[in-house]
Symmetry: C2
Subunit: 436 residues, 2 copies
Amino acid sequence: MSGTTTDNSLPANQFGPSHLLWTECRVLAERAAEAARHIGVTSGAARNSWLKMAAEGLRHRRDEILASNQKDVDAAPGFGLNAAAIDRLKLDSKRLEAIARAVEEVAALPDPVGEVIHGGKRPNGLEVSQIRVPLGVIFMIYESRPNVTVDAAALCIKSGNACILRGGKEATHTNRIFHQILSDTLEQSGLPRDAVGIVPTSDRDAVGVLLQMSDKIDLAIPRGGSGLIKRVSHDAKMPVLKHDAGICHVYIDKSADIVMGVNIIVNSKAQRPAVCNAAEALLVHHEIAQEFLPIAAEALLAEDVELRGDHEACRIVPIIVPASEQDWDTEYGEKILNVAVVADIDAALAHIHRHSSKHTEAIITRDIQAAQHFIAHADSSAVMVNASTRFNDGGELGLGAEIGISTNKFHARGPCGLTELTTTKWIVIGNGQIRG
Amino acid sequence: MSGTTTDNSLPANQFGPSHLLWTECRVLAERAAEAARHIGVTSGAARNSWLKMAAEGLRHRRDEILASNQKDVDAAPGFGLNAAAIDRLKLDSKRLEAIARAVEEVAALPDPVGEVIHGGKRPNGLEVSQIRVPLGVIFMIYESRPNVTVDAAALCIKSGNACILRGGKEATHTNRIFHQILSDTLEQSGLPRDAVGIVPTSDRDAVGVLLQMSDKIDLAIPRGGSGLIKRVSHDAKMPVLKHDAGICHVYIDKSADIVMGVNIIVNSKAQRPAVCNAAEALLVHHEIAQEFLPIAAEALLAEDVELRGDHEACRIVPIIVPASEQDWDTEYGEKILNVAVVADIDAALAHIHRHSSKHTEAIITRDIQAAQHFIAHADSSAVMVNASTRFNDGGELGLGAEIGISTNKFHARGPCGLTELTTTKWIVIGNGQIRG
């Protein structure tokens, strides 16, 4: 059929996935697609009622969840997880309560389904409206943190979609009990149990097989390291919402308020260095560099940030070590910051154009023309004026919970909330109109 | 860099495209990307002024255009074009004037660039807004009709994008003079000449090479037969806006007004059978079939429509010939219509689910519950109630000119006008805010 280039006939050759694996994946995808057709026409009230029931289910079965999670934690060193990764994997009563509360917060968000985006009466009397409808089936592939299992299911079902979840093998037991609770409560609330599916095998090839099934799965969302994102983007026959690297820049204009600039670069880099909206590079106008850089360096060093710079930055602040060519294209995810001195705002924009991952850029300036110029020319999902890069976040921008931050221009850009899990449909109501 | 899986290094092996072809394509793509950066920040007034100048240029150089077009028409039989295809290729003063006027109509449309979609003040005082920005570079690949060259360029530039055009070889001379006029007027109006690029070689491999360059080209739009669309979808490393097959259905509910139903199916099928929003199948509720089908068949036969049907349809109207299994999945594009008698509205929806290309479906009914049920369950880009399928069209829905009708759910669905040639960007204005 049109709209897909996928061949979903059984793989014939010996190098493809096994018949059994293919069949398991096919059944999963077909059930999810069937569930999506049902859940797509349920009322917002029915979906909210499940969300509340699921939150209660998580609280009610706390002991089971923590016991399953303990199994994962015990096995974690065997998977080579370090202390930080094990900490991210670990649940306790407080973290579990936060997960349950997050589900209730999703219930409280407005229903995106059915929202009228455009509408009006045409000259011939036709009443036309473009409304939001669910996408269908969303395939989430993610690493360690088990709360994603619950968050993703909540956002997908809230927006009228079914989902197929594939978490990290390190969280197998936790994900399994979460999935059971989600499915059980779906059934209890009269929604299709298969609306939340979990890949039933740990076989790595299962992801590749499911990524071929564009006739049943409408969107793939990988969340994790760049290896995972590259692999999913390469293999998927359906659209991919990429939550990719954040190589974000803060540019200090010559008219910048110096204290504000220092506060913002410290916050952008050091407040939570592992996240994608943290800054990786500081660009400073040469007219202000001599004054700004020593103060900024001191504040950053006080936060244990290692500084790497270009020739001029190193000259002004000798503690800055020379950056390599590759450093400018690196998302450190830790307390390391690149520093460059630039000739002017256009040199800063040229640097950003060359090295940015198009996630978030910030300008610190008192000059309204500089702000406007930077806004127009910085081609990223969010542009900040006199604010930290850390504000490029669904919650901070007022979207509610987010399922990721898209560095793509399609089909959504920037933080993706419930609205971004929908597509649209035109409804045309007439009384017999035909075209002349 | 993140966000792309493309390797744009020079192809090394002997089976890839030639060095020369690769270089030609690379230069074209790089120039378009550079032009896009400029045109993306121009004012709407500057882009409108070019549109008006281009329309005048087309009128002014009419004789040159018609002479070039005559060369294509003369060569057409050599390419195996039949009379209908040659007619579509041929320009005269009247058709050329229509093309020029269409460009002026695009100038009159509102500017999509900079439109604020969301905005507001956050509790911490940040002023946030999500605005529309151009996509960047759009690669259009299309067949014969040379007006697409001008239409596509007008829509792309109007929405602040650059474009690369690849028309059919049958229209080479016409496309070349059009391109010259578009480029000359771009230069005259102070916009970058390279904002409209044309693939400089007729080498078929050029399309495949350009479709790899996702670092420079943001969107590919194929317009033409299903072979072209399949090939582009398969090869492209960037998103593809698919204007794919229209297998559209008209369902006559048991409560339908019979005269209205007949008028609508005749209009949906026969008014312009070659276009994608024409109907290919008529589904009739069994309780009304005995009364409806003979009248409908007579009206359709009077329009020279050939009828193919299921067992029950053939029984009621013996002139209907049996349809093959494949017929139900066929976009005829001519005056042939499939007819099936269905048990009820859900059987109609099941038939649509199995055979539709998710373009347009219509229900004819007096029953508001049936209308609501059909709207909710028909998963297509547009759903019509008591109106012809032919209204799924950008102009008819009030979007102005359209660049295609997307049968995808991403990044746009249904008729794509100027808005669908944009993406978004968040702008955040603060006065020193940092995250706590």
